[in-house]
């Protein structure tokens, strides 16, 4: 038993890793083999074979915590006393709550939209050019950087120093402003534009995801469609508008949805760059602050539930897409 739990040498760790993968493969293989072997298996056995392990993990790891969060949102800070809707009342009557909600909406609209449009246009532009893989690698680069690293990177873009003799700018943007003779700006301090500057960071990180997925989708457009359109005299921008975009609609929906949900949950951009100060906070950040800084689990839970609620429109949109594609099929 000890061997499986404590690995302290490189060989042991690697062996344990291989063992884990093999164990997993073995178990899944056995389940599927069993399902496949049985003659005239009922449908639910097959479905169980394909979905069972996944559902077990999800129930334990996500559904149960989510339900207990919902329950916790009706209890006080230690979860010991039932307080009804008090936590929600606190959330909604909080002075700066409107700002927080507005910011969250701004994030969840702007980030997916700009990221997707950018990723799409860029993927289209570099498609089949000579420097394609390099160009894509460069935009992908931010995805490979941890949040800690990204925080440092953007500090050296937004950092403010006064325009005084003997004082150098260390933020790139302010250096550019000074070069063209404009006074340096407090990018992260002045609301509401500071939220936009934070959003830029998120877009910078996520664009690689959008670009990669959309680029692959563009490449999957059958040549005959493109060819047919070209024979009809369609070219350039029109090709993009009427052939490329409609052809990759499913991929666009996927990208927008994924980025939107990630954006809703992400708080580390805000947390590392402004700590939620200066009117930049978002719901996810408030949730983290309440639950893990102030140890007010009740209020934190209420904010988490608010996040669930905010995602409903996104889910509804996807359900509609699902229906549409079912109809087509």
């Amino acid at each position: 038993m000890e061997w499986f739990l404590r690995a302290d040498t490189v060989e042991h760790k690697l062996a344990l890793m291989v063992f884990a993968i093999l164990l997993f493969a073995g178990v899944m293989g056995a389940i599927l083999f069993g399902v496949d072997r049985l003659r005239r298996v009922p449908l639910w056995v097959i479905v169980g074979g394909f979905l069972g392990p996944t559902f077990l993990l999800l129930l334990v790891g996500l559904v149960y915590p989510a339900l207990s969060t919902i329950r916790g949102s009706f209890y006080d800070r230690n979860g010991s006393e039932f307080v009804g809707l008090d936590n929600y009342v606190t959330v909604f009557t909080e002075d700066n709550f409107q700002t927080v909600l507005l910011n969250t909406v701004l994030w969840v609209v702007l980030v997916p939209l700009v990221t997707t449009v950018f990723g799409l246009v860029y993927a289209y532009l570099v498609d089949r050019t000579r420097f394609e893989s390099l160009a894509k690698a460069l935009v992908f680069l931010p995805m490979a950087i941890s949040m800690v690293g990204a925080g440092v990177i953007w500090k050296f873009v937004y950092e403010f120093r006064p325009d005084q003799p003997g004082v150098n700018q260390i933020g790139l943007l302010n250096q550019l402003l000074v070069l063209v003779g404009i006074d340096p700006q407090q990018f992260l301090l002045d609301a509401p534009s500071n939220t936009l500057y934070l959003i830029v960071v998120m877009i910078w990180i996520q664009a690689g995801f959008a670009m990669t997925v959309l680029s692959a989708a563009i490449k999957a457009i059958p040549d005959d469609i493109v060819e047919a359109a070209r024979l009809d005299g369609v070219g350039g921008v029109q090709m993009f508008r009427y052939v490329t975009v409609p052809s990759i609609r499913p991929a666009l929906v996927v990208v927008i949805t994924t980025v939107a949900i990630v954006t809703l949950k992400v708080f580390d951009v805000v947390r590392t760059m402004t700590g939620g100060n200066f009117g930049t906070s978002v719901v996810a950040n408030e949730f983290y602050t309440q639950a893990f800084r102030q140890f007010n689990f009740g209020l934190g839970a209420a904010l988490a539930v608010l996040l669930f609620v905010l995602v409903i429109p996104i889910i509804a949109y996807n359900v509609r897409q699902l229906r549409l594609s079912e109809d087509v099929r």
């Binding site: 006064p162 003997g166 004082v167 407090q186 301090l189 402004t274 700590g275 893990f292 102030q294 140890f295």
Partner: protein, 462 residues
């Protein structure tokens, strides 16, 4: 179908990446003398030994382990680990150290999940109180209590107690009431180190008259932005209203926006919100809000700022090669008292050794950490930037002059000591609303009265 016939092409490694790895691998240490930063002369813990007798009464501990969880990370973690060696040699206990910057949140998660460490070093008495409330904390054994009674000022014991029960012995400490300046620059300009508040203001005016900005400050600290401003406020409350009012204010026995506190905040404002005084080398008043506290004192080095109020631990922020000392590039003087002269009050902070079980090995280790032997060994293996309020600590063992100065302040029976108030207040105030409000006070010029009233309104009712 030949779909499956796709083969892997060999991976192409970017040449630049390989080069970077090679470079990183064979980097030479080109650091020069290191008085600032983390270097410094330190003893080797293996050469130090202690009297093992005090730990024998805990029985045979050979082979036991004690896990320690702290917020102290690289590079300050190594001296901690080194300082445990004599104890480990005495008892055969293996001490497992873990430091994390997400310490507070993680500690709570672990306790709630039944995965508490044996010992944690808790930097806020307020958090200690919360944890005691969950029933997870074990009271300190009598040996620890005896050590604390003997070697610490009684105010410290109070900070480690909850409702009359003593739980946690103080460990390290830091003195916050310091003003950093450059002795060499002061000498060249003919300025004297001020000994009263009035002198300090007069000096500030004198410097401002030359067109320079005397003060620099920064309260930026990521998610904790605002805390340096709370230290300013507390330091001045301690000076204008006195320690008794300070205690009442921290314990919320007087309203948070009591007129005496408003007056103190205005006194802080006379410096921090005075465009004539700030923010040397960093910008206008507003820039205080966005400047990282760690960078805020650095303009002193290039002469664009003269004074910077920050704790003794700020010495770690001076770049490699900066000489810290009474005749060096930078040094600090105690923030002077206001009004009647006397010993300047000391505002400070520190960690408390908190145990989550009463195993003999845990208790033996607690006892060791509360002993003067440990404090002196820790002082010998530490670089600059560590001090304890343990009166059994010989200041001579400390490496840096600023640490020695801090130790002397802690050991001065005349000096009033108070713990950083924001660490004593309920979390939603001390590490929340107060930070936010003081940040607005700087960033948006929000009036002092309004700031304090908003904090008062946010004080938890229960």
């Amino acid at each position: 179908m030949n779909v499956r016939a796709r083969g892997f092409r060999s991976a192409t490694l970017g040449g630049g990446l390989v080069a970077a790895m090679v470079l990183a691998g064979c980097g030479a240490n080109d650091s020069g003398g290191s008085t600032g930063g983390s270097g410094g002369d330190t003893a080797d813990a293996a050469d130090l030994s202690i009297d093992c007798a005090p730990y024998e009464e805990f029985g045979d501990l050979e082979g036991e382990t004690v896990s320690v969880y702290t917020s102290i990370v690289d590079p300050e973690d190594q001296p901690q680990i080194d300082s445990y060696v004599p104890f480990e040699e005495c008892t055969g206990v293996d001490v497992q150290y873990e430091g994390s910057r997400e310490f507070e949140a993680q500690l709570v998660v672990r306790i709630q999940s039944g995965n508490a460490p044996d010992i944690a070093f808790i930097p806020q008495p307020g958090l200690l109180q919360t944890l005691v409330g969950t029933g997870a904390v074990s009271p300190a054994p009598e040996q620890v209590e005896a050590n604390v009674d003997e070697y610490w000022d009684e105010s410290w014991k109070g900070y480690g107690s909850v409702d009359g029960t003593f739980y946690a012995a103080p460990l390290g400490a830091n003195a916050k009431s310091f003003v950093w300046y450059s002795p060499s620059a002061f000498e060249d300009a003919g300025y004297e180190v001020p000994e009263t508040w009035d002198d300090m203001i007069a000096l500030s005016d004198e410097i401002a008259a030359t067109g320079a900005k005397p003060w620099c400050a920064g309260i930026g600290s990521g998610e904790a932005t605002g805390w340096p401003a709370t230290d300013w406020l507390e330091d001045v409350v301690l000076r204008t209203a006195g320690p008794d009012v300070y205690d009442q204010w921290v314990n919320h026995e007087i309203p948070f926006n009591d007129p005496q506190i408003v007056e103190a905040l205005n006194t802080v404002g006379d410096i921090l919100r005075n465009p004539e005084y700030v923010n040397g080398g960093l910008g206008e008043v507003q820039s205080i809000a966005s400047t990282e506290f760690g960078d805020a004192g650095l303009p002193i080095l290039d002469g664009s700022c003269w004074m910077h109020r920050q704790a003794s631990f700020y010495q770690a922020n001076w770049p490699e090669g900066t000489e810290v000392g009474p005749d060096g590039d930078v040094f600090a003087f105690p923030l002077p008292p206001i009004g009647d002269a006397g010993a300047p009050p000391v505002l400070g902070g520190g960690e408390f050794t908190t145990a989550f079980n009463d195993d003999p090995a845990t208790q033996a280790f607690q006892t060791y950490l509360s002993s003067p032997e440990w404090a002196n060994i820790k002082a010998q293996v530490s670089g600059p930037g560590w001090v304890s309020a343990n009166t059994g600590l010989d200041p001579e063992n400390l490496v840096s002059p600023i640490d020695q100065l801090a130790a002397e302040l802690f050991q001065d029976p005349e000096a009033v000591f108070r713990f950083d108030g924001s660490d004593l207040m309920p979390g939603e105030i001390g590490t929340g609303e107060l930070w936010t409000q003081l940040t607005e006070w700087i960033a948006n010029d929000k009036p002092s009265q309004a700031v304090l009233t908003d904090v008062e309104n946010a004080w938890p009712t229960s």
